[in-house]
Amino acid sequence: MAIAPSEIKVTPEIAAEHGLTSDEYARVRKILGRDPNITELGIFSVMWSEHCSYKSSKVHLKRLPTRGKLVVQGPGENAGVVDIGDGLVAAFKIESHNHPSYVEPFQGATTGVGGILRDIFTMGARPIAVLDSLRFGEIVASQTTSEEEAAKNRRILDGVIRGVANYGNCFGVPTVGGEVCFEPCYSQNPLVNVLALGIAGKEEIFLAKAKGIGNPVIYVGAKTGRDGIHGASLLASAEFTEESQQKRPNVQVGDPFMEKLLLEACIEAMHTGAVVAIQDMGAAGLTCSTMEMASRGGTGIEIDLEKVPQRESGMTPYEIMLSESQERMLLIAEKGRERQVLDVFKKWGLDAVVVGTVTDGGIAKVLHHGEVAAEIPAHPLAEEGPIYQRPISQPPLRRETASDWFVFKAGTTNFTEGFKKLLASPAIASKRWITEQYDTMVRTNTLAGPGAGDAAVIRIKDPRTGEVKRALALSTDGNGRWCQLNPRLGAMHAVAEAARNVAASGARPIAATNCLNFGSPEKPEVMWQFSEAIDGLTVACEELGTPITGGNVSFYNETLGKSIYPTPVIGMLGIIDDASQALKLGFREKGDLIVLLDGSGSTATASPANLAQEFSSSEYSKTIAQIVAGEPPQIDLAAEKRLQQMLLALANEGLVQSAHDISDGGIAVALAECCFASAALSTSVSLEGSEPPAEHALFNERGARAVVSVKSSLLARVLESARQYGVTAQQIGQVTRDKGFRIQYKGSAAIDSPLDSLREAWAYSLERALHAR
């Protein structure tokens, strides 16, 4: 899209080119009382884009539970903030950078990390951890995926990983966890969701509200260039077509070194006490930060674009206001103290310029070469944008029969070959090749990094004394496939799984952030999926006591009319009061007993037909039989809660050696993972008590379950704890030093293999798949 010079007269056609409907354009004219000029049109088009205004999602998002005893700041600011005790707060949020990562994987992913880090430290919190939740198309050719497509997905994955690593490593924040998932639907719509967490003293949190008439507005950080213009309104608010390559100039370019300097300078400036408000320049750059700060503060703002540091010559007001050049912040200082603030940025070698003032009257005025380039009432622009009640329509119910579903094998069978195939599938296989490209240890707070436990665990050093007491646990989880089959149920599972992962690390889940990745909101079936997912998130978050403190909605994840699975992703935060009690998933000692915990305690058997319907939603069904159908398992939130509470008690009382929840691939995969994370330990278990058929017993993905390993001397206490919490506990086997890995079922070996060959399949398959030509 050509960048228009400021003499262009705005017409409805030009407004449409900017992504504004005729109704929206009429609304613009009503707010201004006249036609907008081209700069004003650009400003409205980004502020009212789906990405910035949430116009299609707002009516649904307000159903989410956002309040809680520990919530200091809910949705509406740059990040959510929760009280974590001892006068400290945690600021955390997850955000997407999906479309740019398809167009330019490295820069798309790297600037995604940069953006969310800024959202955290603009609140005054130093970032201490990052997690990345990534979804790609299949990377190995199959019936559903050509070699050409698989190769493209491998290239995208490689670019994204290097992009994430590039930013976090140089900036100096550890990337401690996340997930990598693969489904054909993400082939042309990869999902890159990044979560960042920061810590601050309770009194040190900064909000982005312009205040104090006459206070100076100061621009700090990188110079403004032409990169990323319309990244928000064109990339993030529209689907891909054949011409998508042309959107390359819309992808922003990141510089983590610059952002590290910006971080240190901002934190130092905030400590001077001279900073009144601060906001990062992310999507829609200078436009968003000026308009939102003024709107939130109920003030006006006046800026002179000539003062804005520019790295390209001849930039028009339109370009300067819409540029998405990275690593820039806008702050409001106390009048008379600007020198103090400017000196801090000078020390760190960063541009810092007074570009305007906070005014009375609620008008945002942009000057350029002595002329008024734009003049807009800030509050109506930021808060009175369009709100849509998009039509919702449930798609026709899938009429499935047994012939669509997984067929269980009759009789006793050995499932070792299928199990190996499952372990080697990219979804389940070790992600070590990926995570070793991240600095997972910088800042020396990582107690459990990728693969060590069910959640990442980061200890908290008291900012004044360095003393360590508490730790925080974080997990990102989502299941697009389950949400496609049943959006409400899938969304409930996302919350439950994230909370379960946090609890299995010994932490109490306290709050969550969400990233909602969906197709086009203009499609009634997609809006139905969205609304259902919101309902599922709401029920689960309320029941589990984990309010949503903020997050992000990413619509238009579709290409050529085909949309992704509805994919809500949850980032769950938990607290461990005593950092030394954090739990990991690897087995520790030969002779330890393995206990299967089940919060549901129900022995009700489902009919075989229902079992097949349920099992058809599993990873095993997809990988071994290429069947994706049926329904996700039912969910029992009360059972999930019981299990979580018991896991917490086990951690607090030091009763278990290890804990691992059961999810993708069922108990068989969970047990294998406990062995792989150990020092050459294996296991021999029997699943006699489990409901048939065998595949169901081995690989079902019902929730509210975990396996723990226990010193034999403590078994009685663990069983007592289970009784206390209403959780079923069954000793199923023990930790061995044998060469073999064995799972018995109905009197025979359902899985029997040298552990080494299972480990071979699991440990190197991702690496092999990615180097394949």
Binding site: N169, F171, G172, F257, W348, E436, Q437, Y438, T440
Partner: protein
């Protein structure tokens, strides 16, 4: 005694080195800003890991021109104890305080994981508290850790026993599988001829507590502390 940790724009392991010395070993430590004209009253100086100047041009290439490096060079030439960790090692190489250069890792990717390295020499202030042949499990985190130097200098380093740490397998063997980045002769760390300046790619400050998976890095800091105590006691 006092340790000084230099902070360049882009250093990001400065806090970790500070924490290891100040909070774990309870010794006095302070930050030295890169524009400082002097080193304060530091008795030992650490150049920490990170991405000084964003690794622009070449890692360490710009940092070597920082004002503080004049004082560091003077301090080193006068026999002062200087330890460069990771990016700090790269800066010492660029500044010519240690010989050689760092190339891109052989695998062409950033690697962060625990490795094993063997203490080759114990007559340095960085290893005097260790045993010769002791295997230490310490994390690396770098893109450019592939140490390289001309053959003649390499022979000299070996002859003068300036190679103080070498990568090994967990069992302590010199098999190539123990070398994470292709470094010449499995070199993980070296010292200068006078043995008062050293650099290593692994991060000992990340291995000072068992909670963090290894406390094997303690012995390096303990050696420095003992050397400073000894120097304080020695007659002038």
């Amino acid at each position: 005694m006092k340790f000084g940790v230099v902070v360049f724009p882009g250093s990001n392991c400065d806090h970790d080195a500070f924490y290891a010395i100040g909070n774990v070993l309870h010794k006095p430590v302070e930050f030295i800003w890169h524009q400082s004209e002097d080193l304060g009253d530091s008795d030992a100086v650490i150049l920490p890991g990170g991405f000084a100047y964003g690794d622009y041009l070449r890692t360490g290439a710009i940092a070597r021109f920082s004002p503080v490096m004049k004082s560091v060079e003077k301090f080193a030439n006068g026999g002062g104890m200087v330890l460069g960790i990771c990016n700090g090692f790269q800066i010492l190489l660029e500044a010519g305080l240690l010989p050689g250069a760092m190339m891109r890792n052989a695998g062409l990717r950033y690697i962060c994981r625990h490795v094993h390295m063997r203490v080759e020499q114990t007559d340095t202030p960085f290893t005097n508290a260790a045993k010769k042949g002791q295997i230490l499990r310490i994390p690396i985190a770098h893109n450019d850790g592939n140490y390289s130097v001309e053959e003649a200098t390499l022979d000299e380093l070996e002859r003068n026993r300036q190679i103080i740490f070498r990568y090994t397998t967990p069992e302590g063997s010199d098999d190539a599988s123990g070398n994470p980045n292709g470094s010449m002769n499995n070199i993980a760390g070296i010292c200068n001829r006078e043995r008062n300046v050293a650099g290593l790619m692994p991060h000992p400050e990340r291995a000072v507590e068992s909670a963090l998976n290894s406390a094997d890095g303690l012995v390096i800091f303990q050696s420095m502390i003992e050397a400073l105590v000894g120097a304080a006691k020695a007659p002038a």
